[in-house]
C-alpha cells in the first residue's frame, strides 16, 4: 500500500456523467455579471437548472438535494464544472459556508427548512459579519439581539456583505449577552433580508456594480428559532464557518487550474513579443495551480481517512489568493495596452475577462479574513510563536 493517485472506475464514470450533463446544460454564452440585478437573476436561474439535475451541492445528502458524494467526487465535479466554464455560484455564501455550518450545528428542523431551498437557489444567502468598527477585529462587533418573548429584536449595522443587495437571507453575528466583550456572548442568527426593520443599501464596488451592501437592523424581529446553535455559541460556530470559507470548500482548485491553462494559452499566442521573464511567471502560475490541486487532494484524502482540517485553512487562503493575483498580474502585463479595455469594448474580444478577473483577484487577500490575519494565525497556532 502506498499513495494511489489513480481514479477508480466509479470515479471515472462519475466524471463522464458530470461532463455530459455540463455539455448539455451550461449556457453557450456567459451570463451577465452576478454583481448586477439582471445577472443575479440569471445566475439564480442557473442554480435552479443545476438543482433539477441534482448538481446543486453534490456532497449533501439526497434529502437536501444532494448526491452524498465524497470529497474526491466533489473535486471531480468541480473540475468538470470549471472545465465547462459553467457560471459562478451566486449562492456560494449559502452552499459553501452556511450549508456545512447548518449540517454541523443546525437542528433537524432547521436543516429541513433551509438546506433544500439553498441547494435549489430559491433562497440566496449573504454573510452579515463585518461592521464598520469590526473588520479584521471581528470580535469587536456591536450589533445586538435582545430577547423579547419568543423573538430576538435586532439592532446594528453590518457592512461589506457580498451579494446582499439582491440576496434573500443573511447569516449574522449578534451580541445576545448585554455588555459582553470580544468573542463572548455572541449568537449566530439567520435573518430574512426583505423583512420589517431590515434595510439593505448597496455599495458600489471598485468596478461600479453593487457587489456588496450594508445592512441596517432597526428593531427587526426574528423568532428565537432562527438562532443556529446555543445562545452565546456564535463565535465558535462562526469560526467553523470561517474554516469552511478559507479551507476546502470556497475555492476549489479547478478554477485556478482553468485560469492557469488560459494564461498558458495567452502566453503561447503572444510569446514572440513578450519579455522572457513572463514565461517564468506563467510557468510558476501553472505550477502553483497544480500545487494547490495536489494539496487539496492530499487534504481531502486525509479528511476521508478520519483526519481534520484546522490551521491549514489559513495556509490555503494565502496560497490561492496570492496565486489568483499573480496569474492575473501576469495576464495584465502580457496584454499591455489592451489590458485596460472593458469587456464590452469593440476590440476587447475575450481579453476583458482578464481585467474583470484581475479586479476580482485584488479582493482575494482581503475577504475571508485578510492575509495578514491568516499569517498571524499560522504563526501563532501552527508554528506556536508567542502571541503579540
Amino acid at each position: 500500500m502506498t499513495i494511489a493517485l489513480q481514479y477508480t472506475a466509479e470515479q471515472r464514470a462519475f466524471r463522464a456523467e458530470v461532463r455530459a450533463w455540463m455539455e448539455a446544460n451550461v449556457p453557450a454564452d456567459p451570463l451577465p455579471t452576478l454583481e448586477g440585478a439582471e445577472g443575479f437573476a440569471a445566475h439564480r436561474e442557473w442554480e435552479r437548472t443545476l438543482a433539477k439535475g441534482r448538481w446543486g451541492m453534490v456532497t449533501w445528502p439526497e434529502a437536501y438535494g444532494g448526491r452524498s458524494c465524497n470529497l474526491i467526487e466533489w473535486l471531480i465535479f468541480e473540475e468538470e464544472y470549471y472545465r465547462a466554464a459553467a457560471p459562478a455560484r451566486v449562492n456560494q455564501n449559502g452552499i459553501f459556508l452556511l450549508g456545512p455550518t447548518l449540517m454541523e450545528f443546525g437542528t433537524p428542523e432547521q436543516k429541513a427548512r433551509y438546506l433544500p431551498k439553498m441547494a435549489s437557489g430559491e433562497e440566496i444567502w449573504a454573510q452579515a459579519w463585518s461592521e464598520p468598527q469590526a473588520g479584521s477585529d471581528l470580535a469587536a462587533i456591536r450589533a445586538t439581539a435582545v430577547r423579547d418573548g419568543d423573538d430576538y429584536v435586532l439592532r446594528g449595522h453590518k457592512i461589506w456583505s457580498s451579494r446582499a443587495t439582491f440576496a434573500d437571507w443573511c447569516f449574522g453575528m449578534f451580541r445576545t449577552e448585554p455588555g459582553s466583550e470580544k468573542h463572548h456572548g455572541i449568537s449566530f442568527i439567520l435573518v430574512p433580508l426583505r423583512h420589517p426593520g431590515v434595510r439593505v443599501r448597496g455599495i458600489p464596488q471598485i468596478h461600479g456594480e453593487m457587489g456588496f451592501a450594508e445592512i441596517f437592523f432597526e428593531d427587526a424581529r426574528v423568532p428565537v428559532g432562527h438562532r443556529l446553535g446555543g445562545e452565546g455559541q456564535g463565535w465558535h460556530i462562526a469560526m467553523a464557518t470561517a474554516g469552511f470559507e478559507r479551507g476546502l470548500m470556497l475555492r476549489s482548485p479547478a478554477r485556478f487550474q482553468v485560469t492557469a491553462q488560459k494564461l498558458v494559452e495567452l502566453y503561447r499566442r503572444l510569446a514572440t513579443s513578450l519579455d522572457p521573464a513572463l514565461g517564468a511567471a506563467v510557468a510558476q502560475a501553472w505550477m502553483d495551480a497544480e500545487a494547490y490541486a495536489l494539496n487539496t487532494y492530499m487534504t481531502a484524502s486525509r479528511l476521508m481517512n478520519g483526519g481534520t482540517i484546522g490551521v491549514e485553512a489559513s495556509l490555503n487562503k494565502i496560497f490561492w489568493s496570492e496565486l489568483d493575483l499573480a496569474m492575473h498580474q501576469a495576464a495584465m502585463s502580457m496584454l499591455g495596452a489592451s489590458a485596460e479595455l472593458l469587456p464590452h469594448a469593440p476590440d476587447a474580444e475575450d481579453l476583458g475577462n482578464w481585467l474583470e478577473g484581475w479586479i476580482f483577484s485584488l479582493a482575494g487577500p482581503i475577504y475571508a479574513g485578510t492575509n495578514e490575519i491568516q499569517r498571524n494565525i499560522i504563526a501563532e497556532r501552527l508554528l506556536k510563536l508567542p502571541r503579540g
Partner: protein, 354 residues
Amino acid sequence: MDFTFSEEQRMMAAAVRELLDDVCSPAAIRRAVEGREDLSADRWARYCELGLPGVLAPEAAAGLGLEATDFVLIAEECGRAAVPEPLVEHAGVAVPLLAELAGTPRAIEVLDGAASGVLRLGIGHPVNPFVLGGGGCDFVLLMADDEVHLLARSSIGVTVEPSVDASRRLARVEWAPASQTQVAGGVAALAAVERAFQRGALYAAAESLGLAQRMMELGVAYACERKQFGRQIGSYQGLKHHFASAQVKLEFARPVVYAAVTRAGDVDDRAAAAISHAKLAAVAAADACSRIAMQAHGAMGYSWEVDLHFYMKRAWALAGVWGDRSFHSRRVQQLLGSGRLPIGPDQTFVRTGD
C-alpha cells in the same frame, strides 16, 4: 484515489528519524564537519542495520525490494538530519540504477555489496559536474554517451573539490571507458540513466523538504527564546509574517514532491514537468525557510556557533545538483510553451497509457 502514505511507510520514516536523531544530531554533525571525530564508519554501520543502503534494491540482491515512493519520506528524514554521508545518492539513485542494469557477474557482485552497504557506490551523472563522495566510494557509476560504466575507485583519477558543505566530499573524476567496465549501453541504458536522473532530482527535493522543516524549527525555537525590547522576538509581526510565508511555501511543496515521486520511472513529458516542479518547489521552500531562520537569529545566525548554517549549506548544495533552477524552470517553460504537455483540471493525475 488516496493521497496518503501507508502505515508501513510512516513507520519506516519514524524509525529512520529515531536513528538519525541519535547518530546525526546537530552536535554530531558539528563534530563531523569540524573534523574533530570521524564516526562515519559507525554511522554507516547503523544505516546498514536498518537496511537503508539497499532499500530500493531487489530482495534477490540483499535489498528490501521497495519502490520509489517508499524512499521519499526516508530521503526527507535524511535531509532533516543533514546526514553527512552520501546515503541518499547511494541508496536512492546509484543502487537502483545498478540494479536495473546489472547483468555481468562483476556488476551483480558490486550490486550485492552496495545493497548490503559493504560497498559504497557513487554516481557521476552528466548533469552534475562532480561526483558526491567521489573520493570515498569503492565503485562509481559513470556515463559516456549511451553507455553506463562501473569503475573501481582505484581505476579513476580523483581531484577533490572542497564544498561549502564540508560533509559533502566532492570530486572531479577522470576516467576512460573500456569494454570490461561497461555494464549497459544503447537505448535501454539511456532510459535507465534518465530514471536515475529522476530519482536524483526527486530525492534531492525530498531532502530539501526535510532541511526546510529543520531550519523552520531552528528559527522558530530561537524566536521564542530570544528577547528584545522586553518581549520574545517571535511575538513581533515583522518576524511572524515572514515565518508564515515560508511555511506556506513548505506546505505546498510537500504534495508536489510526493505526487511527483509516483511518476518516477515514467519517462515522458508529464513526469518531466512534475519532477522539475517538485525540485523547484522544494528548493524554493528550503530557501525561504533558511532566509527567515537566519534573519530571526540575527548576528548569531551569521556565526559558526549556531547550528543553522550546517543545514543551510546543505540546502544551497542541493539547489544546484540534479538540475539547477535554470534547468528545471526552463524545462517546465519549454513543455508549456510548446503545447506538448496536456494541462487543465482533469489532467493532474493522468498517466501515459491511461
